[in-house]
Amino acid sequence: MFILDNAIKQWLKSFSKHRAFNHGSVREMEMHLRDHIEDLIGNGNTEQQAFEMAVSEFGEIPNMAEEEFRNQKRKTTILTIIHTNMLNNYIKIAVRSFTKQPFFTFLNTFGLAIGMAGGLLIALFIYDELSFDRMFTNSERIYRINIDNQTSGEFSQYAAAPGPMAEVIARDCPQVELVSRFRNVGSTLLRKADATLNVKESHVVAADTAFFDMFGLDLLEGNAKTALKQPNSLVLTKTAAEIHFGSATALGKSLLLDNEHTYIVTGIIDDMPKNSFLRNHSVFLSTSSYEDAKSIKWNTWYFPTFVKLHPTSRVEDLQTFLNTVKESYLIPWAMTFVPGLTIENSRAADTETGNFMNFNATALTDIHLYSSDREGEFSTNSDIQNVYILSVIGLFLILLASVNFMNLSTAHSLKRAKEVGIRKTLGSNRFGLIRQFLTESVLISFLSLLTAMGIAAIALPFFNILSDKSISIPFSSPFFWLILLSTALLLGLLSGSYPAFFMSRFIPVKVLKGGQSSVGGGNIRNGLVIFQFAISVFLIVSTMVVFQQVNFIQNKDLGFQKDQIIVIDDIYAAGNQVESFKQEVKRISQVESVSLSSYLPTPSRRSSITFFAEGAFENNATESGAGAMIIEKWNIDYDYISTLELEIIAGRDFDTKYATDSSGLIINESTLTMLGVTPEKAIGMRLTNDIHIEDKDDMEYLTIIGVVKNFHFEPLRNSIDALSLRLGGSSKKMIVKLNSGDFSKSIDTIREIWSTMAPGQPFSYYFMDDSFNDTYQAELRLGSIFMTFTVLSIFIACLGLFGLAAFNAEKRAKEIGIKKVMGASVSQITYKLSVDFLKLVGIGIVLAIPLGWYVMNKWLEEFTYRIEISWWVFVIAAITAVVISILTVSYQSIKAAIMNPVKSLRSE
């Protein structure tokens, strides 16, 4: 008995022997044969006759196979891989599927776009951070010389070198091609010789003639070789020149500095690049203007020194040279005035006391990110840690968005299961389907990229404020586009890969029968949700800890009064009127007290001095330098301690009653530790810094008359250094303590007095607590950045959860319908639908808490004064996550629960 179907099956088998034919081709042949047989039967043949005729006309299969093989071996062109027409078709189908599911497409695109926009901003930020100081010519060969010093247990790091260092290196270190030396100057008042009004320049530095050559800077006007050669010459940046001279030419004109010194403008230079250590500097004086620039003293630690190595030299050789500097140059210099000092006994003393002084070098390109704690930096540096933290956050954001995409797509695949089934039946093979789905995900990815660019462009100004940068999107850089587009492509492929492989695996028979109500892959989807919430909770914890720490610092008892105090800058501009100005201000009813000093517990001038206790010389201790103590020295006046409400724990404050107080000294507790005495014992002790004097009997001694409780005059990241307070010296600042009341009125009154006593001089003031808060800008900024991206990541996670909940409710519509018919209440159903998600969120929370605890403790370790992370931080983070997820899920759950069961049960 001839059975047609069996015969055809048999015939088809001979095709499968030949690997040349893929599934689609075999189907095509089968359809051909069936059509032919049908026609032949229609012409009156029996089934068997028709079959035999059709097969014979079809021809020899091996011949065809050979031909088909030849096809396959032919060169595959790029055109055939991404077949343009096929691609058109994929895109057509993709667009159809998008427009059919606008909500799903929106969730996918928007979620991904937000992640991308965040990632883009962070990438720009990091790029900017990493590009610091790289624009200088041969930046990779430039190094800065540093000092690491430990004296009496106090460790300090300086970003500068002693004055003679530059000359010594230039002369004796063959590895070095060029040396350039700066000298710290600080803020300066400038005015044109004929003008009455001073303008303050906050960042002034002195530089030598090698400066321009070292950094590859060209002058816009003037001669780079000679501009900084003569004393009293200076170079201005373009902007500074405009400020002082307007549109008139500045070259050759003179400027009066601090109402005293006349300088000639010998050059105009372009503004310093924003991402360089010199970014704030606008005025460069010639180093030769300073007497101490010629000094051979090695205790002048305020000369930032840069060297450029020969192309073939190694930094290790420079370091080897620097290691010899102390014993070859510094100690021989000290031997000229310290009797009995030898290299041997100085070595012995260092081993005994643990003191040391090392010179080392920091690469120019490392300054911004790897040298945050040195004294005398040109500009505030960042920290590579911030770059790491932000990279991780950026990566998290993009991962979260990708995960969303995968989750939503796989969940959604149930809806497309039938489509996959039909495609497969119609001859699509798996790779065709994978290509189709990948095309869709890449399309969504590019759509998201477009949206992300829009979002980033709008957010950039705010981000710049947040991060204190001036970043712009480099639209004109082909490199930028290349990276952007390839990232979008990669992201599309990555996010699309799981759904694509997952969906293309569907078995047509199963899905077409309609039996497939679960799409599988649930575990992976759940894992992804857990991952998202773990990250979100981790970010919430981090944000809270950062803000708590900042808050702790701002409210900590610092040991001095900073509220209701205004600081008036540059009062020396009033010349000899300073003292009468103080008396006038004191007379204002709202003013409680007034003090003059250059030194403040908030950022201001600092200077240290080497003290020796009395008697240290008698037993020859100084030969070894053992008695040397480096102590901060502040010049203050009689009202300083009372104005800042420093607490005296032994002895007394300076008093006009005692004429001897001019050689009196008040120290803090850290100095006591250095001296190794109790507060009471310290009173009456005598210290000296007059070690260079020939006749040791003429040394000037200062007597300790009081001890103040330690107060925080450095950021709380650091511990409290040894400090000494002394009367006298010129003062740059005036501190005014006000009674509560209308501050602006008092300030106006002070301003009026100022303008009569110092006409034409700028009046600038600030509140001390503002200045204090500025110190913690870095932490505040980190906190704000954390918060912004935490909110973003939670938002993305919610978008994903929302989509999943919607999918879940839809998938279980029938089940819900039946439950309702059987009498389940709306609240029961809502609970049932929501609780599954909450379990996942719960697991995410459990995973995030130890991670958050560990990472944030590591971060806190950087602070000398820090909070303990309390348990309720985690509770709040957990509750936040749970509440947000309930809100997200319940909308969909309630919507599903209140639906009329008739609707869901009637369909199909």
Binding site: H32, G59, M64, N71, S428
Partner: protein, 113 residues
């Protein structure tokens, strides 16, 4: 009966030509060729498919599985692409040139005698 080699050589323009008149599937294409040639061109049916697949690989035609309304089974329809139309023009010109050459040779021959 047209020789096997000639048949093989002309398959490409014939298929492209037929598809230019409208989309079609393998069985129908064969039927049409047989019809038009009045049976003088005869292939083994199966040999058509490697040619179709090759043309598709070259991007001259593209295919789609379609379920016709009046049919019980899906069919793989082929459609000529823009590239295919260009190729057809080139083919046409070449065949016409061959034709012209042959014509001239055959027409000119008697006068030379």
């Amino acid at each position: 009966m047209i020789s096997k080699n000639l048949t093989a050589a002309s398959t490409k323009p014939i298929i492209l030509g037929i598809l230019k008149q409208g989309n079609s599937y393998g069985y129908l294409i064969i039927k049409k060729i047989k019809e038009i040639s009045g049976g003088t061109m005869k292939y083994s049916d199966g040999m058509l498919y490697p040619v179709l697949h090759r043309l598709e690989k070259d991007g001259l035609i593209q295919s789609n599985w379609v379920m016709d309304n009046d049919s019980v089974r899906p069919r793989k329809y082929y459609e000529i692409t823009a590239l295919g139309k260009e190729a057809l023009i080139v083919e046409k010109e070449q065949w016409l040139q061959v034709n012209t050459v042959l014509n001239q040779i055959w027409e000119v021959q008697p006068t030379n005698k």
